[in-house]
């Protein structure tokens, strides 16, 4: 588990670099540049400085007293990634990749976005470092995540609407990859999750691993021990991998990844790639994938735009296959209830994506002993979801 991925980016049968030849040299160049930066203490120092002074890390690990009391079981802590600058964990990764882009002399960046959180975090670092920025976003997501579209534009980014397919995250990533094929010589593609071709899954994981490292330190300070369980939502899986990774060798810490069951796992309207998919290849890596029997990728569905993706990061597939992490599902309806519950109990409005993790914790916490500890990654704030919630009422 510690030696993965192999030099070609494989996590056992998952991962790899299934990319068009035009992109291969850029991926190899990125791998070398990232390898050098990883060993360079000045990169770590710079990254750390921006995380602290600009993004506001470390984020609090908050004991949710009222939520714990209301559920009557395990103690619940929330890792407040929603309190990062830009409102989600996405800035952890975009700062890392933008610093790397700057080292590589790239002045243009592109990104795909679903909920718009990664788009906003990319537009933000592009503004910070004076880079030209294009964000690819599905038209359906542009509609349901309008506040984030405005934020990206205010930050100086160009938002490119994507009409193909279901006009959601998968299609945005297709279009970003196509654009990158044509602009690869001077453009850096900031992928927002632990997916894509190698080295993205490992690079994004490492940039996000600060979440779990902080949790470990913080929980040891308040409770003097590791948590019993980590819960995080999984779309592509970057906040979950960031939460899990520091604990991967701590066998007693259970890890739960919560996928979006949408309208239900007995329908086709969900985004649960691990729980409802089979192994396939999309966007440069081999992983669990929602697809038909002929290998055509199915359209994912979730009320949470950031989970609305038919694939999942390859390392999650590996964790699922080896049993290191368990993957469960939560429906739209349950996520909306959790959204409302946390807002009223704790005065914290969670993103609809993070609400999936909250919802699962609500299911299992009551049956757990009071001395057990659950840490939920609250990956983003929910202001952006006001429109979606109003539509459901």
């Amino acid at each position: 588990m510690n030696n993965l991925p192999d030099p070609y980016g494989h996590f056992d049968i998952f991962g790899g670099r299934y990319a068009a030849e035009t992109l291969m040299p850029a991926l190899l160049e990125l791998e070398v540049a990232y390898g050098k930066a990883k060993k360079d203490k000045s990169f770590a120092k710079e990254f750390d400085w921006y995380r602290r002074e600009y993004a506001g890390r470390p984020t609090p690990l908050y004991f949710a007293r009222r939520m714990t009391k209301a559920l009557g079981g395990a103690k619940i802590y929330l890792k407040r990634e929603d309190l990062n600058h830009t409102g989600s964990h996405k800035i952890n990764n975009t700062l890392g990749q933008a610093l790397l882009a700057r080292r590589m002399g790239k002045k243009k960046v592109i990104a795909e976005t679903g909920a718009g959180q990664h788009g906003v975090a990319t537009a933000t670092v592009a503004a910070l470092f004076g880079m030209e920025c294009k964000i690819f976003m599905g038209e359906e997501d542009i509609r349901r995540q309008e506040p984030n579209v405005f934020r990206m534009k205010i930050l100086g980014a160009e938002v490119v609407p994507v009409k193909s397919g279901t006009a959601t995250l998968k299609d945005a990533m297709n279009e970003a990859m196509r654009y990158w094929v044509g602009s690869v010589r001077d453009t850096f593609y900031i992928i927002g999750t632990t997916a894509g071709p190698h080295p993205y899954p490992v690079m994004v994981r490492n940039f996000q691993s600060v979440i779990g490292l902080e949790i470990k330190k913080q929980i040891h300070k308040t409770e003097g021990r590791n948590p019993d369980m980590l819960v995080a939502c999984v779309g592509g899986g970057s906040n979950a991998m960031g939460t899990f990774y520091a604990f991967r060798n701590e066998k007693k810490v259970a890890m739960l990844g919560v996928e979006a069951a949408g309208l239900g796992m007995n329908t086709k309207e969900h985004s649960a790639s691990i729980s409802g998919g089979k192994v396939g290849v999309l966007h440069g890596n081999k992983t669990y994938l929602l697809q038909d029997e002929h290998g055509q990728v199915r359209d994912a569905y979730s009320i949470a735009a950031g989970l609305d993706y038919p694939g999942v990061g390859p390392e999650h597939s590996y964790f699922a296959k080896t049993g290191r992490a368990t993957y469960v599902t939560v429906t739209d309806k349950e996520a909306i209830e959790a959204f409302s519950f946390l807002s009223k109990q704790e005065g914290i409005i969670p993103a609809l994506e993070s609400s999936h993790a909250i919802a699962y914790a609500m299911k299992i916490a009551p049956a757990m002993k009071k001395n057990k500890i659950i840490v939920i990654c609250l990956s983003g704030r929910g202001d952006k979801d006001a429109q979606t919630i109003i539509e459901t009422m």
Binding site: E21, M24, R178, V181, G182, G280, V281, G295, Q296
Partner: protein, 264 residues
């Protein structure tokens, strides 16, 4: 030597260049694709590239994306495409390359795919998202079946990497003429001449150039540089524009005739 190798040999002996044409199978229907293919062979097409439609063609421009979507809507599957090839083989010896993405092949089963493709009469496969680093899981089977594995070389491919690609390439080498997805820019002959010249220093394998060639003038110019040219998006567009015409086959064949003549 397979049909592809023999075709390039006989063309070389006559000092001719290969005209390679791409079609998306199942657009507008598998039946129409079959009729078009048989017509194309008579219009002087040397090698066929049959596109296996995929839901997420990330290396293709808008024209082939749309064609893939249409083909999928009419229910085209890899299984159906292999049947189409077997059907064509009953009446034609034209070399056939299947062009597509890895996931439909992976879902079909790599072992089964190689066997069935060979049996159907496929000569080579070109899998856009399967670079040499990942190709072995398919090549174990396609090499064993005697199918050519057509390698892509891009304008961004450096010399070191080119050598690696050449080590395992079979059939012919496909040089991507633009830094971009299919059919989205016009190729620049001077750049291509330089790059193809560099490749020639390292291999005697036939080199075909594609991605962006659409006019007779371009075909002539690039045909003067390479051993063959590939026309894809331009044909697919023509098929779409005339999909409801009774003269669809004639219109496409007339266009291909013009290209063929310009190749000399």
């Amino acid at each position: 030597m397979g049909r592809i190798g023999l075709k390039f040999e006989s063309l070389r002996a006559r000092n001719e260049k290969a005209l390679i044409v791409y079609l998306t199978a199942g657009d507008p229907s598998l039946d129409a694709t079959k009729k078009l293919i048989l017509g194309l062979e008579n219009s002087g097409v040397d090698i066929l590239e049959i596109g296996v439609p995929f839901s997420d063609p990330t290396a293709d421009g808008p024209v082939i994306q749309a064609a893939s979507q249409r083909a999928l809507k009419t229910g085209t599957t890899l299984h159906g495409v292999l049947n189409l090839v077997a059907d064509i083989r009953r009446v034609s010896e034209i070399p056939i390359v299947l062009f597509g993405y890895f996931n439909p092949i992976f879902a079909y089963g790599v072992d089964q795919f190689a066997k069935t493709a060979k049996q159907a009469g496929v000569d080579g496969v070109l899998v856009v998202d399967l670079p040499p680093e990942e190709a072995s899981e398919l090549r174990i089977h396609t090499d064993a079946a005697g199918l050519d594995f057509i390698a892509l070389v891009a304008p961004t491919t450096g010399k070191g990497r080119l050598k690696t690609i050449l080590k395992s390439a079979t059939g012919f080498l496909y040089y991507i003429s633009i830094t971009g997805v299919t059919g989205t820019a016009a190729p620049k002959a001077a750049d291509i001449a330089r790059e193809v010249g560099n490749i020639r220093k390292l291999t005697g394998m036939p080199i075909a150039v594609g991605f962006g060639i659409s006019t007779a003038a371009q075909a002539q110019e690039i045909g003067g540089i390479a051993d063959g040219i590939v026309i894809g998006s331009a044909v697919v567009k023509l098929i779409d524009e005339n999909r409801d015409s009774d003269d669809l086959k004639e219109i496409v064949c007339e266009y291909i005739n013009k290209i063929k003549k310009s190749l000399g």
